[in-house]
């Protein structure tokens, strides 16, 4: 989105270099490898359901995504499968596809009968996916096109105004110029303001962990996993051993089967930590403490993070901008009765409260707008 802030060089850059503009979802091969009978090609055709099958079973791709999607698909993506089966034998692959043991999978894979050759093809295709990487998300170009279109309008309007003079009334090209230019400015400033902010950011995580399943369905308290929230500046992303407190027994999920939960066990066994994608992040020059806000200030998690307990995929709800912080500091009242630090330190304000000369003391009144509370 922020591409907009720019001039022509970027357009060139994008048009000439970005491969994501071409409309070919299949992994690219070198010309010499291009053979119709090639195993990976055949695997791809089976995976995408392009080969006639004996029965009317769903193709693999209908459940196992090849591309990123922003709605939750509980089934592992093709890329995910490629990673976990890369080192396994075809016989393992066979048992998982044709005769799965897990409850969820045995229901959906009911009736699948692929022979060994076909399995090999699928496996080879998946392997090629692994090496070529996952499908990249396509950039959204609508805004850019709109921006360029407005630029064109401006150019035409100016040319007509000074040279061609085809339009009878002068105010029309002038109006067009100001409207188009104004809209461009608006687009630029909005994008510039959003620079570095990630409102609505909801990336794919390495494990399809659902807060809804854990916090709402299973009623696990936020603090059970986010243990630092009361004492540390960091709320803490739970370590794998916290997951295992339950998942050493709960081995199969209601929605995702064994596949996702197995990733935790694999991480522990291979001594490879889980690399979550960070969603809520403040710039390095901002100091924020969960202990201050949650423990001392008695704020609810949802005030900043939204209704996380209703989310399958965690999304950043607020823009976490400084204006948003200060807005809350201006509105929020400090509870003097609760914490003796405030009543002992701000004696005059406390007296006012007691004498009911003021209805409440806001965070701003005790220095909540001062720079060095957060920036040092």
């Amino acid at each position: 989105m922020s591409k907009l802030c720019l001039f022509i060089p970027i357009v060139f850059l994008l048009l000439t270099t970005s491969p994501s503009f071409c409309n070919n979802p299949a992994p690219q091969h070198k010309d010499t490898e291009h053979n119709f009978l090639e195993s990976t090609k055949q695997g791809e055709r089976i995976f995408k359901g392009l080969v006639l099958t004996k029965s009317n079973l769903k193709s693999c791709v209908s459940c196992h995504n090849l591309t990123y999607s922003d709605t939750l698909n509980w089934n592992p993506s093709a890329w995910d499968i490629a990673h976990s089966f890369a080192d396994k034998k075809t016989s393992d692959f066979n048992s998982v596809i044709n005769e799965p043991l897990a409850k969820v999978m045995s229901q959906v894979h009911d009736g699948y009968q692929y022979n060994e050759e076909e399995l090999n093809h699928i496996k080879n295709y998946l392997l090629s996916l692994k090496t070529h990487g996952a499908e990249e998300q396509k950039p959204v170009v609508n805004n850019l096109i709109l921006f360029l279109f407005l630029g064109l309008l401006i150019t035409i309007a100016l040319i007509d105004l000074f040279f061609t003079k085809k339009i009878k009334y002068k105010f029309i090209p002038i109006l067009i110029f100001f409207a188009a230019f104004g809209y461009q400015i608006k687009m630029l400033s909005e994008d510039a303001m959003a620079l570095g902010r990630n409102e609505n950011y909801a990336p794919d995580q390495p494990i399809k962990f659902s807060h809804k399943v854990h916090a709402t369905d299973n009623k696990i308290d936020c603090r059970y996993c986010h243990t630092g929230v009361d004492n540390s500046k960091s709320a803490v992303i739970p370590s794998a051993n916290v997951c295992l407190n339950c998942h050493s027994i709960v081995r199969e999920g209601r929605n995702s089967g064994k596949f996702e939960i197995n990733k935790i066990h694999a991480a522990v066994e291979n001594n490879k930590p889980i690399e979550w994608v960070r969603i809520h992040k403040l710039p390095d020059h901002v100091f924020f403490s969960h202990a201050q806000h949650v423990n001392v200030g008695k704020r609810e998690c949802q005030e900043c993070h939204g209704e996380v307990e209703q989310m399958h995929i965690v999304k950043q709800v607020e823009d976490l901008s400084m204006g948003w912080c200060l807005d809350c500091h201006d509105k929020t009242a400090v509870d003097f009765n609760y914490n003796n630090y405030y009543s002992n330190t701000f004696k005059e304000l406390h007296l006012k409260l007691v004498k009911e000369q003021t209805d409440s003391v806001r965070v701003t009144d005790i220095g909540g707008r001062e720079c060095a509370r957060c920036h040092y």
Binding site: I10, L13, N231, S232, W276, F287, A291, T345, G367, E370
Partner: protein, 982 residues
């Protein structure tokens, strides 16, 4: 008021316009400097400018087009119970580097040691840390350290290495081998060495100290029958006389002496008692600069003075005098004063002459100081080496009698005056094994290299004083494939290699039975490990007996030596670098010397009188003994016809930072003095001096008085008060809750500079390098100004730490066009880096000159690579591990300054809020205050009428810097009181 001066030039020259040495560069020229490679003075041209334009266009394009990078959040797999991300853990440990010792707490964040703090429980170091201790954490992340074992410069595995060493040791069984170490005062290490030498009886263990206390040890052997270093109690003495002992700087155990010395010199509300300190020395040392009375003498004149003083004391006691020339009036007076303070005085000497030390012992005996200010029952253990052992070893190595050498943590090729001979001898050896952390001049000659751990990665114990134990524990897993010395010894002795278990077993056998509090070992061990220290209570009051030594003989030897007309050279260690082991530590390299304020260099100190005779100026080159060419620094207070030079510089084999910095003093003896020839040669040298641009300009910046004046009037010397109330055009700010402030006791501050390094570690203050310091671009948030007063040959010296004064009527705040610096309701002058646009108006308008501008990107906070200026390699991933995550690193083009450790204030307030109570007085300590060995800095809440700070600032000694300009600082100073004889 006295006339203060900061340098020779200022004193002698008229305050007219001085010639500008460096032609100032315009803005554009400075921008284009980035294309020079730093060494070549290449001229930039039009093409460079076009390149710059094109480059910046490309950068803007790339920067503005890229999406926010995906950040990972990677939790532990199995989180250790004690670690919570975001909360610091502190582990009690011990710092040992050669003879340096401190009991410390290691602050770790997410498993990385980031700061060293003093351990308050330790009676030796008393919660203080020296600059070297503070800087030691940076050495942990030094990429020049050995990263794996080596045989003949080839990388090998530990298994192969151990096998080769064992084979080689077996093969050498018939030959004599020496194990060379610094003084080892760790009981478990001594035991491990004993086991090792028991397995290989052909190995002889020799200790070698660069600053030896050999003569004191031997004198005590003769006088008291025990080869010990006594326990000097400066806090029990009313009169301290030091003959060339730099006990506040580098002599024996300064960490302890600073505390005990300043304890007797601080004046609090009721007490107006203060010790008197008289120093005889040739070079202006840190100790001499703090003395009430300082006498400059040549090193060779020392002995006679000691002898004369002894004679006078004998005369006062009515005893028979020895034969010596008539003493001066000064000495007679001194003897008189000492005699009056009998049993409450202390005479020490740093002399390397055995006879001098015998007479010093005799003086203290006659003054009845034994068992009072000098105790022999708990001797210090950090110097045990005898010089003759080392001389013998070098002779044996040269003659081929000793055929193998194992060298641990010492670098005699560099710092012994016979290093050249030693170098040739080592090259010929059949077996040579080095156990060092980083390559140095000695280890690089050796065949086997068994890399040692850094102390923050090691287990150890120590017994700095008899019955005072402390433990060292690792704060991080070894970063490289290294193994600590003791574990290596155990391995080669075919024993269990876990040194941790070895210490535990040793303690269970030896120390656990000495206490009664714990009945089983495990809780005792855990408690001791948590506290870091363990003491055996010793209430015995053994009376020390003075043996009948041949005083006549010692006395005659002292008086025999005639004073020569030669120029005498003394080699000394600096406060920062010591013997040069830490030369690769950029924090220490950039720490200015307390007296000369020069960093990144050593130089020849000469006296002002001699400089005049030889027509020398600061930075002129001289030739020493026809071989060493080096610049001179005219040191006020240096004795005429004597010169001095610091060791620790001119390292050849060292990391990137320390190599080729300064001049190598090898060949000159470290212990004692040598006669030299001096000759002026052509050439001029640029010093990186941090105090050429700060001048007192006739104002009462440092205020001082003598003790007798103070007793009459507590406000003595502090009469430059201005009377205006609310003289500003702005409304005076109000502080409804806290009003943070600092008070600095100039009487306690000895100028050691520990606070500057603590600040650097706490606040991620960058290093700029020598070239930038010359351009006055140093970044330190706290500096120590040093002013001389009086006669240049016998100057008085004052030190004054200056940081941001957090003015309530701050001149910097109202000139900032973007309000990037403003005032908080808690009295802090806030600096917001991300709002700063770099006009530097604030820096120009600050009367205290404490604001620092980032002329380059020193920390890699910028994303523009050409802005980077990193002379010490501190932006590597490894070095960045030392950064404090709670303090922002600053980018190019912003101003920064002391924040009064606002991160610590916020942390302290949060702790109070979490517990639902007020902030307790003394709970929050700034980094400079925490480390200060003399307790000169006090932080507190000026609004809290019961706080220590409020009491101190209400005293008559309290004043503010430049009160007359009505800046209303929150930092205040207490006048310096001297105890001169009136």
């Amino acid at each position: 008021m006295k006339k203060y001066w900061k340098s020779q030039q200022e004193k002698n020259e008229s305050p007219e316009i001085k010639t500008v040495k460096h032609k100032p560069k315009g803005n554009l020229e400075q921008v284009l400097d980035i294309f020079e490679d730093g060494t070549v003075e290449a001229k930039s041209n039009r093409r460079d400018f076009l390149k710059l334009c094109g480059y910046s266009l490309a950068i803007t394009t790339v920067l503005s087009s890229c999406e926010n990078a995906v950040q990972k959040a990677i939790p532990y797999l199995n989180k250790p119970e004690e670690i919570t991300p975001g909360i610091a853990n502190y582990y009690a440990s011990t710092y040992i580097n050669g003879s340096d010792y401190a009991s410390i707490l290691v602050k770790t964040r997410e498993g990385r040691p980031i700061k060293i703090e003093g351990n308050n429980l330790s009676p030796i170091s008393n919660g203080a840390c020296s600059a070297r201790v503070q800087a030691s954490v940076l050495s942990l992340y030094d990429s020049s350290r050995y990263q794996h074992p080596q045989i003949k410069q080839e990388k090998v595995s530990w298994d192969e290495f151990d096998k080769s060493v064992s084979d080689a040791l077996e093969a050498q069984k018939g030959n004599q081998i020496a194990l060379l170490t610094p003084t080892i005062f760790s009981p478990s290490t001594r035991k491990a060495i004993k086991l090792f030498t028991a397995k290989y009886p052909n190995i002889k263990w020799i200790q070698y100290d660069t600053q030896s206390a050999s003569s004191i040890l031997k004198a005590h052997k003769l006088c008291f029958g025990k080869e010990i270093l006594p326990d000097y109690r400066f806090n029990k003495a009313n009169l301290i006389v030091s003959f060339d002992a730099d006990f506040l700087g580098t002599w024996i155990n300064p960490a302890e002496y600073i505390k005990t010395y300043t304890d007797t010199r601080k004046l609090s509300g009721t007490s107006n008692k203060m010790s008197r300190h008289i120093q005889f020395e040739s070079r202006m040392s840190l100790t001499g600069s703090n003395a009430d009375e300082r006498h400059t003498i040549k090193p060779s004149e020392l002995n006679l003075l000691i002898a004369q003083l002894y004679n006078e004391i004998l005369a006062l006691k009515g005893l028979k005098k020895y034969n010596a020339s008539e003493s001066s009036q000064k000495i007679k007076e001194l003897a008189n004063d000492l005699f009056k303070q009998k049993s409450r005085s202390l005479v020490v000497s740093g002399s390397h002459d055995l006879n001098a030390q015998i007479i010093i012992n005799a003086i203290n005996y006659e003054l009845e100081n034994l068992d009072k200010t000098i105790r022999l029952d708990n001797p210090l253990q950090n110097h045990q080496a005898i010089d003759e052992d080392m001389d013998q070893l070098i002779n044996d190595l040269v003659s081929g009698q000793v055929k193998g050498l194992i060298c641990y943590h010492s670098n005699p090729v560099y710092n012994h005056h016979k290093g050249d001979q030693l170098k040739k001898a080592i090259e010929k050896l059949a077996f040579s094994l080095s156990i060092h952390e980083a390559p140095n001049e000695t280890s690089s000659l050796m065949k086997f290299v068994a890399p040692d751990n850094h102390y923050l990665e090691s287990w150890n114990d120590s017994e700095i004083k008899k019955n005072s134990f402390s433990l060292m524990q690792p704060a991080i897993h070894p970063l490289f494939d290294t193994r600590q010395f003791q574990a290596s010894l155990l391995k080669w002795s075919d024993l269990e290699t876990d040194y941790h278990k070895f210490i535990m077993k040793n303690w269970e056998e030896t120390l656990f039975p000495t206490q009664t509090l714990y009945t089983s070992f495990k809780p005792y061990w855990e408690h001791t490990l948590q506290e870091g220290i363990f003491e055996i209570k010793n209430n015995s009051q053994a009376k020390s007996k003075f043996a009948q030594v041949d005083i006549q003989k010692a006395f005659d030897k002292l008086t025999q030596k005639p004073g020569t007309k030669n120029i005498e050279l003394q080699v000394y260690e600096t406060i920062a670098l010591g013997n040069g082991t830490s030369a690769n530590n950029p924090w220490l390299q950039e720490m200015p010397d307390p007296i000369s304020k020069i960093c990144w260099d050593n130089y020849l100190n000469i006296s002002p009188k001699q400089a005049k005779e030889m027509e020398l100026e600061n930075g002129n080159m001289v030739k020493l003994n026809d071989k060493l060419e080096l610049p001179v620094y005219i040191l006020p207070g240096q004795a005429y016809n004597s010169v001095s030079i610091a060791t620790g510089y001119g390292r050849e084999i060292c990391g990137k930072v320390g190599a080729e910095v300064g001049f190598n003093t090898s060949g000159f003896t470290q212990n004692g003095f040598s006669n030299v020839k001096l000759q002026k040669i052509e050439g001029q040298y640029d010093f990186a001096m941090t105090q050429t641009h700060h001048s007192m300009e006739g104002r009462a910046i440092v205020r001082e008085a003598n003790l007798d004046e103070y007793k009459k009037n507590p406000k003595a010397g502090n009469d430059h008060k201005h009377k205006y109330k609310n003289a500003g055009i702005y409304k005076e700010p109000e502080f409804p809750n806290h009003h943070w402030g600092l008070a600095i006791d100039l009487n306690a501050c000895i100028g050691c500079g520990a606070c500057t390094i603590a600040c650097q570690a706490e606040n991620n203050v960058p290093i700029v390098g020598k070239k930038e310091v010359i351009r006055a671009h140093e970044m330190s948030w706290i500096r120590i100004d040093r002013y001389f007063s009086g006669d240049e040959n016998k100057p008085g010296v004052v030190f004054q730490p200056v940081m941001c004064q957090h003015c309530d009527n701050a001149p910097c705040e109202n000139v900032c066009p973007v309000a990037a610096t403003n005032h908080s309701s808690e009295g802090l002058n806030q600096m917001i880096y991300n709002r700063c646009i770099g006009t530097r108006y604030c820096g120009n308008n600050c009367p205290y000159k404490v604001r620092r501008f980032n002329w380059y990107d020193y920390t890699q906070a910028d994303s523009i690579p050409n802005n980077l200026h990193d002379p010490a390699g501190l932006t590597s991933d490894l070095s960045r591990m030392v950064l404090n995550p709670d303090v922002t690193i600053r980018a190019k083009g912003v101003i920064e300054k002391c924040s009064m450790c606002v991160q610590r204030i916020q942390e302290g307030k949060l702790n109070a809020k979490l517990k639902g109570r007020k902030v307790k007085d003394g709970e929050i300590k700034t980094a400079c205050q925490q480390t200060c060995p003399s307790g000169a800095i006090l932080f507190g809440d000026l609004n809290d009428k019961s706080s220590e700070l409020f009491k101190v600032t209400s005293s008559g000694r309290n004043y503010h810097l430049l009160e007359e300009i009505h800046t209303l600082p929150s930092v205040s100073y207490l006048t310096k009181i001297r105890n001169k004889k009136s």
